[in-house]
């Protein structure tokens, strides 16, 4: 059978990297085809080529055997290709309906036919089970809703092939299940779906075929029947990986971090902290799970002195640190891997070495009477670069030139080498390659072994569950409950992430909470 889409010999060079190195890819009509690969493998670039927004340097695109040249997304749309990007492209102040029809407005005698549009959209939404509120503004929609709007938008434009670029990265497990039902229904209606992800579990769940990319090349395409997680991981990384590397539980020591009923203003209403309390003991990892934007950032800022606390108290090993400056809190032996490595975590104009010494600069042996001792600095930097396998292994290179994983390793090296009592790690592996994920996770566990107290904030449930001793779930600025890792599973945590208490989630009442 002739493939519906065939990409052949696609090459795309960006100023600094060759993102696609002669990629071949083919798509059968009616299949769900997953595209997996680490960050930076070239998945988005390849799909943007198919969607017409990126013009390849070389290579051909065939649709139903016919060679095509796309000059813009419009050309691709005309041939029935639709794409939902990683970052949504919706106008926040416009309504759902307006966003969907934008640029393709149905008209009656050259006047917008609102009723017709409304009808078409409700029809589509019913057909595929994509619940939306056509007259609500995008900014009042949740992430899950906005995603459904994006899918509807593509369908409304007549998409037969739907590209979903990492759609599950922003969803709770329940929302993910719902998306999978939508994908199933799309398939039933004869649509073809390209599903991008780097979560192998879910890929195995919904695909017919799976294509693995690494470093701008296709490593292979497998039928789902022939695929295993291990096989895919090896193709993705080029070697075996061990992500679920939990060490045997050790005995937790005394309380290091004691958070007592803190409240703090949030960036949004939903992320305002209200009466948050918990403790972290030496030698344990407390995971904070939750959908992004439910107060995790505010919590970390409050703990590290980057944000103000309005009420309540924070103690480190018994001494209050509420509303102290970041510098003062660091002196109380608190280290912090920030969620945003590009703006806060690193100074991209400075070298790896300069970034590594930022927090220990004032202490001997790095400086004496305010004068930096270059030899000691260089020694330390070289040692850390080696120890943390930072590449390229040259501490005189500016961090702006590093990949995401290596940037993160610089931050981890700096914060961990400080030898603090409490390590606050916010999304330590977000957006980094699998090799670095594995490495960073093993470091966190090693720190736990050494008796450090660790607060791990992550939106990645798999990460939370594989590393934590106890798991606190945040929802709308509150802690919904703290669950021992042994009793946690994806379903219970997922329900709590959507607003159920632990009791509700375990007694099966949680499903109603979501409906409401």
């Amino acid at each position: 059978m002739e493939p519906l889409v065939k990409l052949s010999g696609i090459i795309k060079q960006f100023p600094n990297v060759v993102a696609l190195k002669e990629v071949d890819f083919s798509l059968r009509e009616g299949e769900v085809h997953s595209l997996v690969g680490e960050n930076g493998a070239g998945k988005s670039t390849l799909m943007n080529v198919l969607y017409g927004v990126i013009q390849p340097d070389r290579g051909d695109i065939f649709i139903r055997g016919e060679k095509q040249h796309f000059h813009s997304a419009r050309d691709a749309m005309n041939l029935g290709i639709g794409m939902v990007h990683q970052e949504f492209m919706l106008a926040p102040t416009m309504t759902v309906l307006e966003n969907i029809i934008l640029g393709f407005e149905p008209t009656k005698r050259s006047v917008l036919d609102y009723d017709l549009a409304y009808e078409q959209i409700t029809e589509l939404s019913r057909e595929y089970g994509l619940a939306v509120r056509p007259e609500s503004k995008i900014m009042d929609n949740s992430v899950g809703e906005a995603q459904r709007v994006e899918i509807l938008k593509a369908l409304y434009r007549g998409a037969e092939v739907l590209i979903l670029d990492e759609p599950t990265a922003v969803l709770t497990p329940q929302e993910t299940d719902e998306l999978f039902r939508v994908i199933a229904s799309l398939k039933q209606h004869g649509k073809t779906v390209i599903f991008i992800s780097h979560k192998l579990q879910e890929v195995m769940e919904i695909s017919d075929r799976i294509t693995v990319m690494r470093d701008g090349k296709v490593q292979g395409t497998l039928d789902v029947a022939d695929a295993t997680k291990e096989k895919l991981a090896v193709l993705m990384v080029g070697r075996e990986v061990f992500l679920n590397i939990k060490a045997a539980s050790t005995k937790a020591g005394p309380v290091v971090l004691d958070v007592r009923g803190i409240s703090a203003r949030g960036r949004r209403k939903l992320s305002e902290l209200t009466d948050v309390s918990f403790q972290v003991r030496a030698g344990e990892i407390l995971g904070i799970a939750g959908v992004d934007g439910n107060g995790q950032s505010e919590l970390v800022e409050a703990l590290t002195g980057l944000g103000r606390v309005d009420q309540g108290e924070i103690l480190i090993s018994g001494t209050p640190i509420t509303n102290l400056s970041p510098g003062q809190i660091r002196k109380k032996r608190v280290a912090h891997i920030p969620e945003d490595r590009n703006t806060s975590g690193l100074c991209k104009e400075m070298t790896i070495g300069e970034n590594l010494i930022a927090i220990t600069l004032d202490q001997p042996p790095l400086s004496k009477h305010g004068v930096i001792r270059s030899r000691e600095v260089n020694e330390l930097a070289a040692k850390l670069v080696k120890e943390y396998d930072i590449r390229p292994a040259n501490h005189r290179i500016r961090t702006a030139n590093l990949s995401g994983g290596n940037k993160q390793k610089v931050i981890v090296a700096r914060e961990v080498s400080e030898d603090a009592d409490l390590l606050i790690a916010a999304h330590p592996t977000r957006g980094v390659d699998i090799g670095s994920i594995e490495f960073i996770r093993s470091i966190l566990l090693a720190q736990r072994e050494q008796g450090k107290a660790i607060l791990l904030v992550s939106a990645d449930l798999e990460e939370i569950m594989s590393l934590s001793d106890r798991i606190a779930v945040m929802y709308e600025g509150k802690i919904m409950g703290i669950v021992p890792a042994a009793e946690a599973n994806e379903r219970v945590l997922g329900l709590m992430m959507a607003g159920a208490t632990y009791d509700e989630a375990t007694q099966g009442k949680g499903d109603e909470v979501i409906e409401a």
């Binding site: 970041p326 100074c347 991209k348 930022a358 927090i359 600069l361 004068v371 930096i372 040259n394």
Partner: protein
């Protein structure tokens, strides 16, 4: 290694741009001379002689070099923390009046002590004057470009009032302060020009600030705040005070710039004495791309142009404004990029770096 080559290229980029701009300026200036029918060789010979030939001419160049060097340094130091000190002009007026006062009222000190004391007090005056916009900027994000420009006027008019009504030399018609004690004066090094030992103090200051920025924890922190204040705050630096402190340091240099004119050149404070030294400093710093090590070279180049222009005018009749045009062209091309950044900061009403 690939990234380091890129790094090196991007580092080379700015000197190449600057050199290209200088060449372009020279070409355009030369073309203008040719169009007006001047003999180009004669003109450049006169320019060269005006800048270098004989103690008087070369001394004149050195005399111009000092304020260019210091005010350039002042601007560049503030820029390290990503603050734009357009107020060097005001700071140097304050420094100058303070130097004139203490140079006059203190009697009987050994010269070395007197000079040091006067420079210190003048520097303090400049630092205080720069502290104000620095504080406003770091605390409430009040745009420092606007405040420093406004404070320039305050400084100029305030010192003008002082020299006209409070502290005026009664024996002379023009508004100037009484002549300072000999002990406060800097020794001349190239009679009959007015070049003086201030040049060594100025060069010493440049060396000191290069060392401060590159080899001390304070310098590291200043640069961190300048590059990325979020980062600086996150790793625990007191970004706000670092920014304010850097501005005060810059003002200190500004104050000393003014004092040097008083104790090195004039011997008194003269109403409205500065011919835009503070603004020339911005030009120097922009051309040097705020690289402290490049500042002496750029300052010297501009000093040569300025003093050569006078010789050229005298011997060939080519108006010295032509050299002004050349300077303007150079600035236009070499620093347009930086000027756009400043413009943006003004129009957006905020600075590049935020401190929390």
């Amino acid at each position: 290694m690939k990234p380091s080559i890129l790094d090196r290229l991007s580092k080379l980029q700015s000197p190449i741009n600057v050199l290209a701009a200088v060449l372009l300026g020279l070409v355009i200036g030369t073309a203008l001379m040719a169009i007006q029918g001047h003999n180009i060789i004669e003109a450049y010979t006169a320019l060269f002689n005006g800048a270098f030939n004989g103690r008087f001419n070369f001394g004149g160049t050195l005399e111009r070099f000092v304020p260019l060097l210091l005010s350039g340094l002042a601007f560049a130091v503030a820029s390290q923390a990503s603050v734009f000190n357009v107020g060097v002009e005001g700071q140097l007026y304050f420094g100058a009046i303070v130097a004139a006062y203490f140079g006059y009222v203190i009697v009987g000190l050994p010269s070395v002590l007197h000079v040091a004391l006067v420079l210190l007090l003048a520097g303090l005056a400049g630092a205080i004057w720069a502290f104000i916009p620095g504080f406003l900027r770091a605390t409430w994000r009040v745009n420092e470009v606007c405040t420093t420009i406004m404070l320039n006027y305050v400084a100029i008019f305030f010192t003008s009032y002082i020299v006209n009504h409070v502290f005026k030399n009664p024996n002379i018609g023009v508004p100037q302060t009484p002549t300072i004690q000999d002990s406060a004066r800097l020794a001349r090094i190239m009679m009959p020009s007015r070049a003086n030992t201030g040049i060594f103090i100025a060069l010493g200051m440049v060396v000191f600030f290069i060392w401060l920025m590159d080899y001390t924890t304070i310098g590291y922190k200043i640069k961190a705040v300048g590059f990325n204040a979020h980062f600086a705050t996150y790793v625990g630096f007191r970004s706000r005070w670092i920014m304010i402190g850097t501005m005060a340091l810059s003002g200190l240099i500004g104050g000393i710039t003014g004092a040097m004119q008083v104790i090195g050149i004039h011997g008194y404070f003269l109403d409205n004495f500065s011919v835009g030294y503070g603004f020339d400093g911005i030009m120097v710093a922009l051309l040097a791309r705020n690289n402290l090590k490049a500042i002496p070279f750029v300052a010297f180049f501009l000093a040569v142009l300025k003093s050569g222009a006078i010789g050229m005018e005298r011997f060939t009749g080519i108006p010295r404004e032509l050299i002004g045009i050349m300077e303007a062209v150079i600035i236009l091309f070499a620093a347009a990029e930086a000027l756009i950044v400043i413009r943006k900061r003004v129009s957006l009403g905020k600075g590049g770096a935020e401190v929390v």
